[in-house]
Point group: C2
Chain length 436, copies 2
């Protein structure tokens, strides 16, 4: 029987050229989180399904989750998102932990969905959350962190924007102003969530199914047209939607103080699919015309800990996937070429007798922090240079009979073309030459 060489549907084999890119993304995530004082955490790959049933919403549990019964008759799921695990962990230390709690993680997650651009069944997601922070300040810290991360790749306000909305505003509009029932409001909310993915005609057709009255539809379409914070302010005033729903004036004032207005835009269609958001919700959107999609989403939630019998603790978080981030960077030419490895030196020998001294030199150099690639057999001179190029080696060594007899080694820097012959035991000088 011959087995398939291909990975499971919707997942990736990360060969070195791709894994180097992913590691590059991960390193920037770690560095950025640490710049903001966020502490790392991680949780289990499997959780009991009840955890998601309680918090993630029916759609995710019924259709998108990998779940099964384990040998101990527990109903478990591969984590499709990190927030429920985070909530479970924070519930454990909630009572004694000083505020705010600032945590981040980069877990691998799985969702059962039809693979498409930017959506795979398995991806890694940068999760950043702050609990117990002051309202607005916590939100702006999360925005700043996301912007700092994207800036670290060379991106700026010409490449991406943060589209913002508020769950309470949507709730107030649908329930208090349009007088829809909870059930109908939820359905309309889901339609709102798909607004950007549907052609205008298809959206209107689906809206028709709701059989809204003329007043209801008028209000909804007026809301849908809001495309700036200035418009929003007029709308809030006209319909007497006050600061209890969204303390919008403070929010906008702080956006100015923090110099974030060039990144932040109001978008009435941002609602986020997950059931737990209760305040600000946002998506970071790619501005590139070929990649108009969200690369990051998040928002504020109040009651994530309630299911564990804990008091409400306000939190704000974001999730940013490695696939969507990579697509974003690629679409703007912001991803460096990582198709080749990098090594400090390719250590070679031309005669079998050179093997043992080469291996000892390799070990000695590694102890100095030099990244040494060795050949495991004698290599002819004319083969050294193409191999060094392929393996991204900065220097090569030559150890032929001449050098062997004299206990020497010749080392050439391929960038400067400088070649120097060293005593085999002069580790300091060799290291300095390679690392300079």
């Amino acid at each position: 029987m011959t087995l398939s060489k291909l990975p499971y549907k919707g997942t990736r084999d990360l060969f070195p050229s791709e894994k180097r890119v992913q590691n590059f993304l991960f390193e920037k995530m770690h560095t950025t989180a640490q710049l903001f004082g966020y502490e790392p955490y991680d949780g289990p790959l499997l959780e009991e399904v009840d955890l998601y049933r309680a918090k993630s919403g029916e759609e995710l549990v019924n259709e998108q989750i990998y779940r099964f019964i384990d040998r101990g008759e527990r109903e478990v799921a591969i984590r499709p998102e990190m927030t429920p695990t985070l909530a479970r962990m924070v519930a454990q230390i909630n009572r004694e932990a000083p505020r705010p709690i600032r945590w981040y993680a980069i877990p691998n997650l799985m969702r059962y969905e039809r693979p498409q651009k930017g959506r795979l069944r398995e991806h890694w997601q940068f999760n950043v959350d702050i609990f117990g922070g002051k309202e607005n300040l916590a939100e702006f810290e999360i925005f700043s962190l996301a912007i700092t991360l994207l800036q670290s790749f060379g991106a700026n306000a010409s490449h991406f924007e943060i589209l913002v909305n508020h769950r309470k505003l949507v709730d107030c509009l649908l329930k208090d102003k349009m007088k829809l029932s909870d059930e109908v409001a939820l359905k309309l909310c889901k339609l709102l969530d798909r607004y950007k993915k549907l052609p205008e005609a298809a959206f209107l057709e689906q809206l028709n199914v709701f059989n809204l009255s003329k007043d209801q539809e008028g209000l909804f379409l007026e809301y849908l047209k809001l495309n700036s914070f200035e418009n929003l302010q007029l709308f809030l005033d006209a319909h007497q939607i006050g600061s209890a729903v969204w303390d919008f004036k403070t929010f906008f004032q702080m956006a100015k103080e923090f110099e974030l207005t060039s990144y932040l835009h109001y978008d009435p269609t941002i609602v986020r699919g997950l059931d737990y958001y209760t305040g600000i919700v946002f998506e970071i959107f790619d501005k590139h015309p070929d990649n108009r999609r969200a690369l990051c989403g998040g928002g504020a939630y109040d009651r994530l800990l309630e299911i564990f019998g804990e008091k409400p603790l306000p939190g704000v978080g974001l999730g940013l996937g490695d696939v969507t981030l990579k697509d974003f960077l690629q679409s703007h030419g912001l991803l460096p070429d990582m198709s080749r490895p990098t090594n400090d030196i390719l250590l070679t020998f031309q005669l079998d007798g050179g093997m043992a001294p080469t291996m000892r030199l390799a070990q000695a150099l590694r102890a100095q922090g030099v990244r040494v690639l060795t050949t495991l057999e004698a290599l002819k001179l004319n083969k050294i240079f193409p191999l060094a190029e392929k393996r991204g080696a900065k220097c090569v060594s030559i150890l032929d009979d001449q050098e062997l007899i004299a206990n020497k080694v010749a080392i050439k820097n391929l960038k400067t073309a400088q070649q120097v012959t060293f005593d085999l035991h002069d580790l300091g000088a060799i290291t300095k030459f390679i690392m300079d």
Copy 2:
């Protein structure tokens, strides 16, 4: 309904103090792999069960694997080990990739087993493999890499040893010399694997079940007593087990040349449970009397690619788990205290008016690479220092009415107790003071 706060059985919630330790282990793994020119890779969390059925052995597939049927009727498993995925990936690039192929990964893996010390249902494992390397040289490179990793934590030959055996030698003994059938040989092999875990009497009792003849048992017990390379040499000579089985003389000669004899020891009970090994097999054993267990295992394999219709390609690999590594380091006091975070500065303000300038200073400092933790509300002077200590901050800032009026900020280094007042906009001087 109140949900449990505890993680799924046999898995870990990694709170920041534990996750910092894991990240510390991961960083050393990355660094060491790169010192040897190994390239990173990763594969999917799920694989089709047939992959493990073909290579990992029946015990693993039947008893230890998390498997289920997905919504597309595929029989899939959460990866219990990385080697089969690695083999599948190498099979894809085998024909064009230059030799040797040197790859490493640090995947999370799951096995269904009874949780006990050093064995959890989920762990992370450092996997290092070399394909197409010259025999013995490839093995010694893997040994050197493992030793270099453990040395980077401060460990040496007084803390651990590498116990070595050879699969062909065991095969030759059981089948050619003792004349056991394949099936009986396999069972005796499994008993050998458990030798160290069983009390002597229990081992002998289980050996009795095999009903060995006097000659067979004599030979087996003679083999079991081998406890050094010198003993082994005598045994190989006495029973005319030649270099076709194990080119032991070359192996031993190279161990001397590479100065590895203080780490390497012969152990007749090392066989490794997984079915794919065909050559050298080894385990790295903790020498601490309280933690006599393997923290790493590996070996050489020839035919991993055959199931994909590819020609044999010799490989050598190791797997080292994060749980066993941590236990090892802890048992020898080699794990630094990471219970607290580290931050460069805790940026605080004493009056509400200090918030906006503080947030702007925070962003400016982060752009210089300073790790800045801010408070999200005004903090009284006497609360700064205990908080800074708890959060591992090297410096703190003071921004009271005096400073606010003058557009200044006072910064104190908590280690040196030096305190200097800076102009709020003198970013260079502030950064230098904090980072010095």
